[in-house]
Point group: C2
């Protein structure tokens, strides 16, 4: 479990006087409040700086580690949050590209009642996790009570296989989004898709957009903007090939072919679903 | 060391016939080559799909794990690459937000001659690494021979402290960019800054833009576009606060204040530099 206490203490010490100053200014010195050029001046003292969210992030062999870390980058900026990196056991878990991380909770020790349940994606590792009875039982159990049930990339296959997407709009990596229909979901082509308390992100790097949206949802927009500035999330991709709608045709054709085996496996997984 | 062999085998099997088809088409059936709507049709068979880069990514306690994983997400898509996650020892390393990863090489076992040396940033952990003699000796040694010397976020403080930025334009997180002048560097406000073989990224999430630029540099633009599509890097930040130039003034003021202690420490580190 990751407890952001040390950082929280520092941040709160710094932000509390700032927030207080802002509140006083609005009450006693209205003419001193700058407009900031953004319409109405905002009351920084009303930002919910402190919280107590319990966030469980599933990890498993063969996951795509960027699917995990984009959201983690944003969740980690929440003062007071507790982030649990959850796996079947506490053994280190190696990602598809070979990076190894250490879980800090198991399916047994993870809190029962979560604010956010999150699943990252991958390819063969994700299919394996989606066929693993223990993983599905954990996801179904915590997902039944979590305030938000979420994923990035093909992590939505795990949610689907656990029966959590039936009747919900959801998204995934472009290579396996249509498979979600097999789980009774409504595949939806957008960077971040919300349907009631199910919030799913598209492929890999969408985790940053997903994570920022989650911060605004869990706290508020000002908090999300602070996290965005601290993580300097002002993207300037040097090329314009990041979406199936914008990639050059040669690149698109090659990558659809490269992903075809996974697309087929995801389709088979969903077709075999008996939910 | 991460060897992308399994993925490489799959990818090469899939791409080789595609590339071959493309080459044949250009030779024997010129009228069948689609223009792809991007000007001249590109020869996919000439893309350097296979390589043998040796990439060392430094890790240390208190680093910001997103600084590491953005570039790793892109480096990991290079067929044939070897990625070394390097630390003082093989003991697990915990990031500033509490995520623990396992190194696979030490300063002693890391290859001597690298294609890319990379340093991630952080706050207090980065200051500590920049004051650690063993870390600086390792970075200075490998950096003297590496084809590319690189960083994301405040990782450039480590490069600077190791004497690798003297006379070079470089960037960093906005909160400590100006400190680079103390190391004899030329602080430069851009998302990715290149000066000869020094390539540095701005804060945290710039690692994705940095990583894509590196793929184009190490292979070519088509390869980078393929990696961009597979990682679905088509960013849509829900807010516009990711840069010190675009963030609302209230957010900017709060975060400059929040970062002030680190800004001061980075300045002191650089002021004490005797290179």
């Amino acid at each position: 479990m990751i407890d952001i206490d040390r950082r929280t203490a520092t941040l709160f010490t710094i932000l509390a006087p700032f927030a207080a100053t802002s509140a006083v200014a609005q009450t006693d010195h209205p003419h001193k409040i700058p407009d900031f050029g953004h319409g109405t001046a905002r009351d920084m003292s009303k930002v919910p700086w402190m919280g107590s969210e319990e966030i469980a992030m599933l990890v498993y062999p063969g996951m795509t580690v960027m699917d995990l870390i984009g959201p983690h980058c944003m969740f980690g900026s929440l003062m007071g949050v507790k982030i649990h990196i959850v796996a079947k056991s506490l053994d280190p878990v190696t990602s598809d590209a070979g990076l190894t991380i250490v879980p800090d909770a198991t399916f047994e020790t993870c809190p029962q009642d979560l604010t956010v349940l999150f699943a990252p994606g991958g390819t063969d590792g994700t299919i394996a996790a989606s066929n693993d009875a223990d993983t599905l039982a954990f996801v179904a159990d915590r997902g039944a009570r979590a305030k938000y049930v979420t994923s990035v990339c093909s992590g939505s296959l795990i949610l689907g296989a656990a029966g959590l997407l039936k009747g919900y709009k959801a998204t995934s990596h472009w290579s396996c989004r249509e498979a979600l229909a097999g789980f009774g979901a409504i595949p939806t082509d957008a960077r971040v898709v919300r349907d009631r308390n199910r919030i799913t992100g598209a492929g890999v790097t969408s985790g940053l957009d997903f994570g920022l949206s989650m911060i605004a949802e869990l706290r508020d927009q000002i908090y999300a903007e602070c996290s965005q500035l601290m993580s300097e999330y002002d993207p300037h991709p040097p090329f314009n090939a990041g979406s199936i709608h914008t990639a050059p045709d040669d690149v698109k054709q090659a990558m659809i072919e490269l992903a075809a085996d996974f697309t087929r496996k995801a389709g088979s997984l969903a077709a075999a679903y008996k939910g």
